[in-house]
């Protein structure tokens, strides 16, 4: 399909969840640092996907010039 589809959405969802976790006070220092590292990794991946993805135009092979 498209380069941007599920994988991008999945990564974005992971990042959102991670952010929420960091915002809750319920996290210990080790986990926080680990999550932060994963977070920076996710940001890098998402940026790369955004920059790389291209749109694709396909022309329909249909003759529209017919009477209805």
């Amino acid at each position: 399909m498209t380069k941007m589809d599920k994988t991008y959405a999945e990564l974005k969802a992971e990042l959102d969840e991670l952010l929420e976790l960091l915002q809750s006070e319920d996290i210990d220092v080790d986990e926080a640092v680990e999550r932060y590292q994963r977070g920076t990794e996710l940001v890098k991946l998402l940026e790369a996907k955004l920059k790389q993805a291209k749109n694709k135009v396909t022309k329909l092979k249909v003759n529209f010039d017919q009477k209805l």
């Binding site: 380069k3 920059k51 993805a53």
Partner: protein
Amino acid sequence: MNLLPQLSPSEFVTLLNATLEFAYPRVTITGELSNFKVSKNRWIYFDLKDEEASVHFFGTAYTLPTPLEDGMLLRVSGTPRLHPKYGFSVGIQNIELSGQGTIKKAFSLLKAKLQAEGLFDEGRKRFLPYPPESIGLITSSESAAYGDFVKVLDARYGGIKIELADVQVQGEPATTQIVKAIERFNAAGSPPEVLVIIRGGGSADDLQTFSSEIVTRAIVASRIPTLVAIGHEVDVSLSELAADQRASTPSNAAELLVPDKAVIVSQLRDVKTEMSRLVSVILQSERDGLREKFEELSLLVSDQIQAKREWLGQASKLLELVNPQQVLKRGYAVVRQSGKVLRSSHSVKAGQALDITLSDGHIGARVQ
């Protein structure tokens, strides 16, 4: 002798029609509409006239682009024919409105009719996916509108699958083609998430298709959400009113459809900064927690020390009270006989030597 061919009426009709078909298989006449009649909602009859002549037309109501009224200027194409019984008429193939006045009149009639049906109601309108993963694009591939749309879309976002239905966007074939394209996308096995119908600016004549009843209804009927952008016009076309979303230009359409990835990248950077801040907060709070514990501990220890000091203080005072020296100072004496402390007056005999200790020294004495 009569050299002209001798024909029966039917033969003449056949001959004339053959001639007409050969010479004028199709004609286009522009004139003023008069005697407009609709029969049984299926057949229409009217004349197109000018100052001197009037030509009769007959056709199906299907060819009506919009409600018509006598006085309108129409451009009608069809096949001229002599009917065996009913006389001459042009069989209608296509009706177009001609001239500003007519177009404006037809427009307001149709707009009122469709508005009354609720086709333009805000409540009908659906949200477009943002951003869409796939787009069904209906426009002319040769138009500047197409070029602008794709250019702006590419600049803003990527990864979108665009299927292009290359159609005419003005003139006679446009109406049919646009409707077919809408239906084609709707009937597809996996339809696109949004239909985008665009064209650039033009004259009222050029834009007629987008205010025709058939195109407007096709947009309303589309199960796929629609975005319509007809380049800068003073009057909004009926297609735009019927669409789920309207854009002022093809470029604007691209802006409405997708976010700008530059903005998203900037937001991601903000997320990174925010995460960094949150982790700092967590670390700081941990440090603060530890310091608190340390301080608590320190407090506890110094409390303990203080308590012990106080106890020591009390004990010292007590001790002082029972200090023999203090007792002696109060006037008591310690009396010893041969080194042993005397506690009873009966323990001594007369003449024995006694040693009396007072607070500041000894006194030797003898028992009387």
